[in-house]
Symmetry: C2
Subunit: 395 residues, 2 copies
């Protein structure tokens, strides 16, 4: 039988060592530079062991001893510690966010700090491979701009604005024209030569808000993304939940109107046909002597425009109705409203009102509603977070 370098054939003791190494590195990444003694205290390992693990990390270039010494243990006396910091010069990941009209790429260090970022306009009706070519070039130049090569990166997180099959990694047809029969992860992996993981915008938005946004530290929440489409990302028990085949959170096609418009999904009266951003703009347009954009709508809302507030409030109540059913089933402690209009107060208030009206009292009482904190950068932040999480799985 040929030798296989699986994770599985590592011995238990090596796993233990690796787990402890990860624990130390994790503490360095999350809590910043620390002394070995601090690390020993926070990990529960002995000082000796931590010393040895730190030495390992330093030899592998994953950590460095900083030049400046720390204060000698708050207030008291004693030898000042030598601080150890996680290296940011190597490692790192890239994130790629493909939108309907843009490609955003960022390179971040292994703790998620963005080092270089760029956005370029793109027509999604282009064949997907042209967009992927462009993204590939952007990754290369941004990697260089942050002082590394693509090969130094430990992985790429890709955000696509469509459901993606978890097994085949194929984009579900019909939503993104020009991407048919394309497996974007494989394509990118071939172009860049490093691992690529992909997920949709709602899931990655949720991941981003969990790690760096409005849902920081919240174990069970729903991230609502209201944009061209309507989708939800679920974080359950502290982890992103993707379902059995990776298409959980497809809330956009709940039937909300018995005889509503026909949806691209062939059903009618879907949530998405009634409250998508294009639909809301279309509803507002006739009343204003201008072509409305999202920014203009937000400005009008800030000025107190009654029509805009009314339409946003209605939209919030409509999605809130669907969210109420979801919350009754899921019992989350937070709903984060994301997408371009996520910061609009009437939308959030509408959602709140419907939850109070349609969800069980106990469910409604348990759930908070908040605007997303990351705005247009939610997707790229989530893509980076996913890439880091994946990389962490492999030592």
């Amino acid at each position: 039988m040929p030798y296989r370098a699986d994770m599985a054939d590592r011995t238990s003791l090596e796993r233990l060592r690796a787990a402890n190494r990860r624990a130390v590195l994790g503490a360095l990444l999350t809590d910043g530079p620390q002394s070995r003694a601090d690390l020993a205290r926070s990990t529960g390992l002995s000082r000796t062991t931590v010393s040895s693990l730190v030495q390992d990390l330093i030899e592998h270039g994953l950590a460095v001893e900083t030049t400046d010494r720390g204060r000698p243990h708050k207030g008291g006396s004693g030898r000042p510690p030598l601080l150890v910091a996680a290296t940011s010069a190597r490692g790192g990941v890239a994130g790629i966010d493909i939108g309907h009209h843009h490609v955003r790429v960022a390179v971040a260090d292994r703790s998620g700090v963005v080092l270089a970022e760029d956005v370029q306009p793109v027509d999604v009706d282009d064949h997907g491979s042209a967009t992927l070519d462009r993204a590939t070039r952007m990754v290369r130049s941004l990697a260089r701009a942050s002082g590394r090569e693509v090969a130094d990166l430990r992985g790429v997180g890709l955000c696509v604005p469509a459901p993606i099959d978890r097994r085949s990694a194929q984009i579900r047809s019909g939503i993104l024209p020009g991407w048919h029969d394309l497996v974007p992860t494989d394509e990118l992996q071939e172009r860049l030569g490093i691992p690529v993981a992909a997920d949709n915008d709602a899931n990655l938005g949720a991941l981003a808000e969990l790690h760096h946004g409005a849902a920081h530290g919240v174990g069970d929440f729903v991230y609502l993304k209201l944009a061209s489409g309507v989708g939800a990302g679920l974080v359950l028990g502290g982890r992103l939940y993707r379902g059995a085949t990776g298409i959980a959170g497809e809330i956009g096609h709940v039937q909300i109107l018995e005889h509503g418009r026909v949806c691209r999904c062939t059903n009618r009266g879907c949530l998405e046909t009634e409250v998508s951003v294009p639909r809301l703009l279309e509803l507002l347009e006739p009343a204003y002597d201008e072509t409305l954009t999202v920014d203009r709508v937000l400005a009008l809302e800030a000025e107190g425009d009654a029509g805009v507030r009314r339409v946003l409030g209605d939209a919030g109540r409509t999605v809130g109705r669907a969210l109420a059913d979801l919350c009754n089933s899921i019992n989350p402690s937070l709903v984060v409203v994301g997408g371009p209009l996520g910061s609009a107060a009437p939308l959030v208030e509408g959602v709140r009102a419907s939850l109070d009206r349609y969800a069980q009292p106990a469910t409604a009482a348990a759930v908070r509603v908040a605007s997303a904190a990351l705005g247009a950068r939610a997707e790229i932040t989530g893509a980076i977070a996913m890439a880091i999480a994946r990389a962490a799985l492999e030592e």
Copy 2:
């Protein structure tokens, strides 16, 4: 500083050993008696290590070498293995299932095999403490009947037919009269002197079907319980999901009819008011010259009675409608239909039809619909499974 015998001060190596010991014991409990070689294969540990761990377990009285030898590795030759089995003479747990008209109590060994069981009729309108007294007596006598004392049991799992607050462990008011202001876990713990964990019937039904029923080995499924009330238990990512405050799965109060009957939850047209078992009996009653029971309805269905089939099919389609929305969000691979009517084919077919009609095609294609396998013993089986899981957490 005084010495503290915390879990925490165990050294990493001891933890490793303990984890491996648990892995071996777990394999023995879930997959039954096995040879050491089988254990090595399933745990991924070396044969040597497994041998040593098994010796540990035997010395601690947690496992025994069985007298009968196994077959020598299916078909082939070779030395026949010495089978190792988890001990059932000690440990064990109790399960208590409180229904609207009965109390069922069972004592099981640590692998979930029921050793003694009893059901007694009870009027739930009694004060809850009377019911708990009775359950306490039943546990005592059943423990004795299985050759142990209550103090030998490692814990109790309690099933109540109502949502239960995860923090206060209080039953949500209004549903079970006579249980107001009662904390059943505390009450039982005081009476019996061993740890008590409680959950509702839908969650425990789901747990039971996961471990010993139609959902064995399925990571993501919805257990629908259709009885006096309507509820769902969710297993997501292989674990029972309870939500942020423990009331996930409350699917019974989705509004399904705009101007339907007023529900006990003060809303109207709730799923529960339209398809609960009493409601279905009430719908059927006028057409038959007898007082209908669940058993009679099932018999009529088996005979091919058109009216019964029609009503059950309609009920299935109605809950299926609500389940379709849930499945769109959760993307499970299975829906298990439980409760007294769970085995009725038209009900299951109705659910299937609504999923195909109302859920996203990809979601509907990913989900199977099946009858529950455990019938009226689902709750007690789940209560036992929960008690075992809790006990396993403490080494």
